[in-house]
């Protein structure tokens, strides 16, 4: 079984600054995947970035990057040059790579507010 924990219910950042959202996970598997999803006020959950556990290199997508610490089971999201449109609920999630199916396991979510 996999568990995902986000210990920051809310965070705020000034526009153009950098913010880091924390996520820790627990799994007994060697092969798994990690994701960050964004849910803006419009409600649709959007995939922001993904990381394969077997890759040591941290994933990046434009202003979004992760700090993947496999030994510590930590997977934080860094948002650079924050924009007002980044205001959203952010969910960290994991996916087993070893079992069949595609069950995403989510964290509690972090509400990020970008202030002008």
């Amino acid at each position: 079984a996999q568990t995902v924990t986000q210990s920051q219910p809310e965070m705020s950042v000034q526009e153009a600054e950098t913010v880091t959202l924390s996520c820790t996970y627990d799994t007994s598997e060697n092969n798994y995947y990690l994701f960050w999803y964004k849910q803006p006020p419009s409600r649709q959950m959007i995939l922001v970035i993904r990381q394969e556990a077997y890759k040591q290199q941290n994933a990046t997508e434009n202003r979004f990057s992760v700090n993947f610490q496999k030994a510590a089971k930590s997977f934080s999201l860094k948002i650079s040059d924050s924009q007002l449109g980044d205001t959203a609920m952010y969910f960290c999630a994991s996916l087993s790579g070893e079992t069949s199916g595609s069950r995403l396991t989510f964290g509690e979510g972090t509400q990020l507010t970008v202030n002008p």
């Binding site: 995947y33 419009s42 959950m45 995939l47 969910f91 996916l95 199916g101 069950r103 995403l104 989510f106």
Partner: protein, 115 residues
């Protein structure tokens, strides 16, 4: 860009009644999912569906729940004899395939309120 659409956006139902939540997945996707989020809690997996049958379900998905793809475009979640604790946001998702390289695309959700 293609989207997963869910209707209705908000459903209010009396306890004990049946409710059907509807989803239209992205047209070329083959895998379909339902998740739910009780207010203040995590998003939880309910069920995945492929090739007209359930491929995986969670312990939450008991006999009260059923899923169906009645017409090749809609994907529905039926809850029989609803309970107060079924009040939640229900999310539908779809993907082209399984695994991390085929990301799940989510709909806006249906807020279900049981009175």
């Amino acid at each position: 860009e293609p989207e997963v659409t869910q209707t209705p956006s908000h459903q209010v139902t009396q306890m004990g009644q049946e409710v059907i939540l509807r989803c239209v997945p992205i047209s070329n996707h083959l895998y379909f999912y339902w998740y739910r989020q009780i207010l203040g809690q995590k998003v939880e997996f309910l069920v995945s569906f492929y090739n007209n049958e359930i491929s995986e379900k969670s312990e939450i998905f008991d006999d009260q729940f059923s899923v169906e793809r009645p017409d090749g475009s809609n994907f529905t979640l039926k809850i029989r004899s609803t309970k107060l604790e079924d009040s939640a946001m229900y999310f539908c998702a779809s993907s082209e395939g399984q695994g991390a390289y085929q990301p799940q695309h989510f709909g806006d959700g249906t807020r279900l309120s049981i009175l």
